[in-house]
Symmetry: D2
Subunit: 352 residues, 4 copies
């Protein structure tokens, strides 16, 4: 079975290559009679769009205009598949010709060729981060479903290049390009990005995603646990190398008496569980974190091989993002939205 | 859609409660003509069985005798579903009566009730770690599929209660109850377990899973990436709170020039990717790590509520494991086997 | 992907061979808190059991005692998988040795071998009609789900060996072994069966399945239409060669003005649609019919080949059913129950 | 789970409404390195296009220009999703305003409203036959997969309005608008269509689909039998009310000695099985037939109700097809192609 579909009751299928004619997504299973128009989705897309300024931006100005091709009638969803398309307008394929026969370190060039025996080398093809625009668009639709239950999903940068956010000021998140809840840390992060970029190198970071007002009872044991599906959703983002729920890696170092969340009449007294017990939401805030690796496209010289297996060096030209973080934060948010919308609808069949 | 099935081409469905008549698994999609008998599966089960001695064991001696009820004819798989059953023989349900109306901290008592409006309180019911015996049995069958490609999966404890294994001696893994590749560290870990157990508390740890000889090309972009499916598989184990691939969390702190794995004519010169690029295996060793939380059943007094929402204290009697690690290592191994067997078969349809 | 699972929200996986240790089914997705015990399922199984007398019976007395191994606690479903097992007790495998190397005409001997490269020749192995006992058991559980909506499913024989039922007296259905709503026709059918059986031959027939009180709105366009899923479910029964909905084949010969069901304030004035329009239930009675081929195991001499491809003749010994009808009627009923339970639960997610 | 996806290894998701901006399909799982361009798909679409002349045609001239938006690179499939779009250009929505509040007999107007609480009334919305253009496009891609195994799928009209084709001349099929293998019968059928159309009425018919060179071994017991999936695929076409395999309904009237296909050293001596035994292809020709109901849109006065449940009469204006047959034949062919491509790829994982 191929792998471009996510979810069961709320189900999205993305398609498209970085330098093909378009990218898009089909959303099947969106409940009917929800208000939806292209502007609403566009607003979500604009958040992840590069070109908002700042040192991490690429020069490619993606217009990313989303169009709704089906599933909406007179401003309301109809219950039929919602097809969204974003045409690729500003794609200079020729600039990738030099890399046609070279496996760029840290990229999927080699693995796509191993898998399919052919690859669209232009801008990463299907493996491009551009694919995630379709996820963000679908995530906006998923949020409509979450709205029916009052669920809110927040994603923010908690660490970039080793610089940690020291406070969680929700208002600050939207006020800086890095989606950092600590305005001061955001400034330091930008300085580091600028510095590292000038060296031709790149930086990783950590993103935290919170979901509020998730009702208890979401998640399907034993394999489709809510945390298992969140882990899959988040790890399916290209640059993510680790996923934590609640206390995460730290849980390995705690004792039971420390890690267990005591319960009072008003609810849990701590949240090491990250809002999930035995794979099912417990009514507390859902807390996930992901480690994002540094962008592999750097302008420093790297050792690699070509498609013939011969050793070559590569220096990836052009102006690249020094960190994937600004673009990945909305994608993390979108993936958590997709998981929650799916499980919210799945729960309807469990306890009708 | 319910959640007790894992995999697409190699597909397992587990069933059963801790104190019900039996637990089991149906494996659908196992290729035909592979040699299989109950002893082979039993050997895998015996590895996870408690009662091998050591300070972490529980007193419940689970016989865990697996029977093959279908799918095998004259010692060979037939391509039809393989049904495995393990009857529950030594289950004293009455000892759980005291906890019938209490939500044990760190357990799924509350969430199962929220989800289903009913729960089998005996020994955790479906949320019991006992369910994982079915996964281990299925994992043994998955290994038969992996054998056809020469793939080997190793799981070992790299950290327990803060004590880290300092060497990776594969031979040592099977020689201690903790599956630790550092015999000396294993002794220290056992001492810590004994000490913590006497305090009525419990310990978490970190398990690493390695897969060798995985051919390049496994994994289905963009959602069913190999690392995404590994993350889901591992996070679906009850006590796991974090999953890392390759450099994992550490990747967030590296620069691109450090994190990128350079490639030489003989292969990758490092393995921060953990054997996976753009969601597809790259031919290098697959490396995953999981954080295991401390067992929530501790004999210290804990604050919680009962099913009426009234505050109560609970002290979980009986002799409990002080660490889930010894039992979880084979489960981690089994889940990675399931993912790889599934993707090995899925790849047949991609590039036939 | 293997094929032993049916349904999405209400999902059954059957397993087992005719002469293996047992057959069974895992039902995943049954809502919680429905009353269930083994006797209820046993009653459904007893309906399909041979040995109720009459000329069509086989001599094999299958005890078919079903056991519930999981998913039920204190008489109520828990929302976790329900595992049902029926041990094979009276299976004389040796009587099949003579057929080990022969492809019986009309059976799957040749195709299983072509597909899997191995086959369990004993009694048809997985292709045996015995597998359908698991479906009937699952169908009983599905009926519990249908009860929550007041849906009733009736299956009856409308034609056997060319003899047609001329009236539809629901009370008569349970009063004869052939599930025929026309008591008089049932007598004639039995006489024909006896006669044909003495000739060593067998008979086909037509079964009709009706579903009452199905609410409008079930069925998922465009591929998982309610009639499409019914067609698949019914065609998945071994002996079925045709499926009709409503007017069925006859619709090909009607004009639009005849075939269209006019609508009055009280509902549809006719039911050529069979209760389904555009793949969605319309609130009227669901009407399906299936053509059942004559049982291929006959004691007349037949021309065939052996596994070496050499021509041989075969005469299938033993006493066989002269018609599959009595056993297939409850299976048809069960499959329609499975489809409706699945779509009833699926609809919960569509219009929550 | 929503229902707009078909297949597992070769998986298509269609989307779009009759009078929305566009319709389309995403094909996931197409093997890589198959030659594909828009002209190839266009040729398949042109076959189903109305406006080829003849009495059954509608006046709406659908341009149906298909565009490939992804999954193809330098003329070859890449293994990534193939997105196809057909923009709706000639859609006069206003002509449907009169029917906005009326349930047309034989259409899904009432059932879509019952299911979703909203409906796009323009031209049938999602329930329009226009949706099937996406299936035909996907079917063309499926044929590429079948080509790798030499499989050919032929669909032809065997009966229309009671007039039966009396010969099977494959060459004739493409030479008349009705895809009839009997040129003489085709003329009679056209005359009948013209006559019935002038009366404002419509006609049903029977389509036969044959698949040649299908290797033995395709089909997944027990639920995803090849015939079960064919039945679902064909019944999912809006106007289809019955599906037969091989002898079909007639099998109910045969004796075992007549219906069994004897086997000689050169293969089967007859084909009542329709090329499928126990749900698995037996190497013989696959034979299916479907009953197509008369088009419900007729210009005769019909009795119905409006959305308020009040009785009204309706006379569906405009020039309508008098028979769905010419448009449905390529859709039947497409659906059989989809099923076979899916099972061909699924078999790769069974017996690798």
């Amino acid at each position: 079975m191929p792998g471009n579909t996510f979810g069961h009751s709320f189900r999205v299928t993305t398609w498209g290559e970085s330098h093909g004619p378009a990218i898009g997504v089909v959303i099947d299973g969106c409940p009917s009679r929800l208000p939806l128009n292209a502007d609403f989705i566009q607003a979500a897309l604009d958040k992840r769009r590069p070109g908002k300024g700042g040192a991490a931006e690429t020069t490619r100005k993606e217009p990313d205009r989303v169009e709704i091709l089906s599933g909406v009638f007179e401003g309301l969803t109809t219950g039929t598949p919602i097809s969204l398309v974003i045409y690729n307008k500003d794609a200079k394929s020729s600039s990738y010709d030099a890399l046609k026969d070279v496996f760029r370190p840290g990229h999927g060039d080699m693995t796509y060729l191993a898998k399919y025996g052919i690859r669209d080398h232009r801008g990463g093809g299907r493996a491009s981060g551009r694919e995630t625009a379709a996820r963000v668009a679908a995530g906006a639709v998923a949020q409509l479903v979450l709205n029916t239950a009052g669920i809110e999903v927040i994603a923010h940068t908690v660490c970039l290049g080793g610089i940690r956010a020291k406070e969680m000021n929700e208002q600050a998140i939207e006020n800086n390009r890095l989606f950092c809840a600590d305005a001061e840390a955001a400034v330091q992060m930008e300085e580091l990005i600028a510095s590292v970029r000038s060296e031709g190198d790149s930086l990783g970071g950590i993103v935290e995603i919170l979901a509020k007002n998730v009702p208890a009872g979401l998640g399907e044991p034993v394999f489709d646990k809510l945390d298992a599906d969140l882990a899959k959703a988040l790890m399916s983002i290209g640059a993510v190398k680790a996923v934590e729920i609640g206390a995460g890696m730290q849980a390995a170092f705690l004792r039971g008496s420390e890690n267990n969340d005591a319960i009072g009449p008003g609810g849990f007294l701590s949240n090491n569980a990250g809002g999930i017990l035995a794979g099912i939401s417990n009514g507390d805030e859902i807390v996930c974190r992901v480690a994002v690796k540094p962008i592999p496209s750097i302008s420093l010289v790297q050792q690699t091989v070509n498609t013939e297996g011969e050793p070559v060096t590569v220096r990836i030209g052009g102006r690249h993002d020094a960190s994937a973080i600004p673009r990945i934060v909305p994608v993390c948010q979108a993936m958590v939205r997709l998981v929650l919308a799916d499980h919210l609808l799945r729960q309807k069949a469990v306890n009708p």
